[in-house]
Each structure stands twice: as C-alpha cells, then as structure tokens.
C-alpha cells in the first residue's frame, strides 16, 4: 500500500510538472497546445533511448531530453506562428499523434508498440523498492519546488506581463513594442522543455516506455488540472495536478467497491464521476480554485 501511495504521488508530481509547463504556454500565454502528450513522449523516448542504446548516464540523459523537447517546441512554435485558438489546438493535437504513430512504427529505433523496457532508474538495482520509490519521490518533489519558484518569478516578471497581454490581445502587445513571435517561441521552448522533463522522469521511474502511454488523454488530464486549479496561477497548476490524480485513483476504489456492476461499467462510472466533479468545480469557480491574481502596486511617496 505504501509503495502504491508513493507511486501515485510520483505520478501526481510528474503531472504537476506538465501542468506547470502547460500553465506557462496556455495559462499565461493563451496558446492552446494540445500536443502535450507528444512533447511528453519526446522527452520520455529521448531519455529512454540515450540511456538504453548509448549508455548515457541519467543525469545527462534528462537534460538532453529537456533540450530536445524544447527544440521540438521551438519548431512547432515557428510552424504555428500565425495560428491561434482552435487552429493551433488542431495542429498541436495532430503533432502529438504524429509523435505517437512514429513511435509505434519506427521499430528500428523505438521497438514499436512493444516499447522500450529496462530504462534505468537512479540506484534502482541497489535499493529496495520502497527506498527507490521514496528516493524518486524526493527527487521529483525537489524538482517541482525549484520549478515552482522559477515559474512563479517568471509569471510575476515583465516577461509574464507581456505573455498575459499577448493572451488577451496580441495586436496591442505588438503596438506596445513587443515582438510577439519571439515571446511565443521562447514560451513554447520553456513550456515544452518542462513537459519533456516530465516525460524523462516518467521513463526513468516506470523503466518502460511505449506509445500507449502517450495518448491524448494525458493532454486532457493536464488541461483539466490547469483549468480546475486556476488558469495562470502556478499554485493552481500544482493543486490541479494533485486533484486530477487523486480523483482518478479515488474513483478507482469507489468503482471497485460497487460489486454489483461489471468492470467495464465501473470504468465508465469513474470517468463520469471525474467529469461530474470538474463540471461542479468550474460552475462554482469559473476561474478555477486559485484564480490568477493581478499584482497590486502600492503607491509610495516617490
């Protein structure tokens, strides 16, 4: 049981990192990136491949995965420079599928749908499962703490202000003298890099990556996390990720305890309960549980 709880917390942490990246791109920058699962896959596969095939150590593989994901993010941002809203959503969604299908079919590289197993984890061989899980949880939590501080600072900075302006009215941001495309590219780079980091952390934790893991449902869950937590609020993104994972697991037990329904019905009940919760939350608090705050400046005698 305790291993299960630790594992779920690690997964919540991985989702939280993705939610932070999503909150930067979508929450602050207003760009609907539905390609999240794709960047998650790019990060996971990069780290898995360079450790299993090239024998790179984990501490080099993870930063490399972040870089590759960020680079893919830059390419996507340049390609989609003129797209907004629904159109950007469709193109990025297509990109995620592209990554997943490539991973399924380029068997020489990715081992196809069989996936890559035996991805190393830090000290996995020498530690007991519980110790390994706890160590990994510690690593993930430290990373989240650092990212949270960095992103909160970024959100409150002039950079974050320009992003929020672009989200509301791109043309005004341009008239204000800001190079909108450059801001979008940089935001995509950082945000997608973070999602790639989550992917790499997933690969080294689960020791196994396969195309099945990177379905669009991952993107949907992260979007839900950000929407429920509070679009544009970094605390909200963390809270939302925890809620989404907790809900997913809690409903598993709930549906399991209803022994008069078939397992397939139980799965449907789970999804319905999650959906119901989200509908209620977003009806009561449209801006999410922790809405974005505008900074208040005090007028000192200047």
């Amino acid at each position: 049981m305790e291993n299960y709880l630790i594992a779920m917390t690690v997964f919540a942490g991985i989702y939280a990192i993705m939610a932070l990246g999503m909150n930067l791109i979508w929450g602050l920058g207003g760009m609907v990136n539905l390609g999240l699962a794709g960047f998650y896959a790019v990060g996971a596969y990069t780290s898995a491949l360079v450790t299993t095939k090239l024998g790179l150590p984990i501490y080099l593989a993870v930063p490399l995965a972040v870089l590759v994901s960020a680079l893919v993010g830059v390419i996507v941002a340049v390609i989609t420079a003129r797209l907004q809203g629904d159109y950007l959503a469709i193109v990025t969604l297509g990109l995620a599928e592209l990554v997943r299908l490539t991973a399924s079919n380029e068997i020489w590289l990715t081992n196809g749908t069989d996936g890559i197993s035996g991805v190393p984890g830090p000290w996995r061989g020498v530690l007991s499962p519980t110790a390994f899980n706890s160590l990994y949880l510690g690593i993930v939590l430290c990373i989240i703490a650092v990212l949270f501080l960095v992103l909160s600072r970024l959100a409150a900075s002039p950079f974050g202000r320009v992003l929020r302006a672009i989200r509301e009215d791109e043309m005004i941001a341009a008239v204000a003298g800001k190079n909108v495309l450059s801001f979008k590219i940089r935001t995509f780079a950082v945000g997608c890099g973070l999602v790639g980091l989550a992917g790499a952390l997933f690969a080294h934790y689960s020791s196994y990556v396969a195309p099945d893991v990177f379905q669009s449902i991952v993107t949907i869950h992260v979007i839900l996390a950000v929407a429920v937590g509070g679009v544009g609020n970094m605390r909200g993104a963390l809270l939302g990720a925890v809620i989404v994972i907790a809900l997913g697991e809690a409903t598993r037990f709930l549906a399991g305890s209803l022994d008069f329904i078939a397992p397939s019905q139980a799965a449907a009940v789970r999804e319905s309960l999650i959906a119901l919760f989200l509908i209620v939350v977003l009806n009561v608090r449209k801006q999410g549980l922790l809405p974005e705050k505008t900074p208040v400046y005090s007028e000192e005698k200047r």
């Binding site: 002039p158 009215d169 341009a174």
Partner: protein, 255 residues
C-alpha cells in the same frame, strides 16, 4: 526648412476591391497637433492602421524621423517612437491600469527570461513603475490604478489609451478619435493634456470629428476624402473651402 517628422507618400491599401486609402500624401511637422478629418469612409482609420503597421499597406512610403517604416511590424514602428491609440479603447481588460501602462515601457531587460529570473532589470522596472505612477496622477486615474482596465468607465478608458502611448516616451502619437463618446468636460481635459504634451515636445496626428476641438487646438488640418488628401491648411481656410464642404455634404449636382 527641415524635413517633416512624418512623411507619407503614395500610400495605398485596398480591401476586396475598395480603395480605402488610394495614394495618400501627408506631412506632419515636428511640434504640431495636426488634425486628420474627413467624412466617414474617407480612409482615415485605414491610413492610421497602415502607418502604425497594424495593416500592411499595398504600396507607398512612410518615412518617420528619416527612417522608412512602411510595411514594418507594429512593434518596430512603436520602438522607433511612433505610437498610436485606438478609436475603441483597447485596454487589456484583465491587466490592471498600472500593468497596462508598464506593458508600454520600452527596453525592459526583464522581458527576457534569464534576466527576469535574475531580476537584472529591476531598476528599469522600478523606473517604469515610477513613470506609470506619474502618468496615473497626471491623467486622474490614481484611484483606479490597481483596478483591472476592464472595470474602467468609458472616459477613463480613453485616458488610459493616451497614458499607454505616453508610457513609451514617443516622439509622436497618432490619436484615433480621442474625444469620441466623451462628455464635454472630459474632452476639454483630454485637449488640455494634449496641448501640454505638445509643449513637452510630443507631436500629434489626430483623427477627430469634434470640430470645436479641432478648430481650437489643431493646426494644420488635413482633410481626407476618398482615400486621398483633399486639402490642408488652417481650420478657418479649410472650413471655407468649397471642395471640403462638398466632400462632407455631398456634391450639389443640381446647382
């Protein structure tokens, strides 16, 4: 004679076969409040859109402070010191008044990610904030400084439009109907702000239908009709110009 601060030659822009701006020539000398008037559909706003880079002109030349800016992106033109406001106030509603102003501050190092994380541009941000407070006081927006721009009254939104342009420390501001839909007291106030800013060295080109204001504060006045400059001169001469009267009232074909 020195070259005009803004020089437009042969500016053209069509929308689906309609020649909104059709070979516009226009000069704005430094230190003036130049009015751009004309009947609805004369192409005044399209001319503004083209000059400020929001809409790409089909052809023509726009020289600002000796630099060709026709076809440049809006951010490049704003950075060159030519700012514009919008007819329908477009304050960013979810940003506070102060944030709207701060957004227009130029050369903020902390708009770069690394610099923002290290807060290298803290001094620039502090200086910008100080200027934002000054503008807020000057424009009587002090009490709403931390309110979201979306919660302002119509008149306050108009003031914020001007304030934002000022924040960029421009050489010239293009105002698109700064007094439209504003009560007489406030439009008088806006006019005072504009006159004072001119004394501080800012040049204005302003679209306005409020003829009393135009006659009082603007010289010269440029009249546009059918996408071109029809006449230019002091308000008194313009008002007596028969061509101009025709453009506004319609031609007297029966005469």
């Amino acid at each position: 004679m020195t070259a005009p601060l803004l020089q437009v030659r042969g500016l053209k822009r069509s929308f689906y076969g309609i020649h909104a701006v059709n070979g516009l020539d226009l000069d704005v000398s430094e230190g003036t409040i130049t009015a751009l008037i004309g009947p609805n559909g004369a192409g005044k706003t399209t001319a503004f859109q083209c000059i400020s880079g929001v809409v790409r002109p089909d052809s023509g030349s726009v020289i600002f402070a000796g630099q060709e800016i026709a076809g440049c992106a809006p951010n490049v033109i704003s950075q060159a010191g030519l700012l514009r406001t919008f007819q329908i106030a477009r304050g960013i509603s979810r940003l506070s008044v102060l944030e709207n102003l701060l957004l227009y501050a130029q050369e903020q190092p902390d708009e770069a990610i690394l610099s923002a994380l290290l807060r290298r541009g803290r001094q620039a941000e502090e200086a910008a904030l100080e200027r934002a407070w000054q503008i807020v006081r000057k424009l009587n927006l002090l009490r709403v400084a931390n309110n979201p721009a979306g919660a302002l009254s119509g008149g306050q939104k108009k003031l914020l439009e001007i304030g934002r342009a000022l924040m960029a420390e421009p050489r010239m501001i293009m105002l698109d109907e700064p007094m439209a839909g504003v009560n007489p007291t406030l439009s008088g106030e806006i006019a005072e702000h504009i006159v004072r800013l001119r004394e501080e060295g800012v040049t204005f080109l302003m679209i306005e239908h409020h003829m009393e204001m135009v006659s009082k504060f603007c010289d010269p006045v440029i009249v546009m009709a059918e996408g071109r400059r029809l006449a230019q001169g002091a308000f008194k001469d313009i008002a007596e110009n028969e061509q101009v009267q025709d453009a506004y009232m319609g031609r007297r074909r029966w005469a």
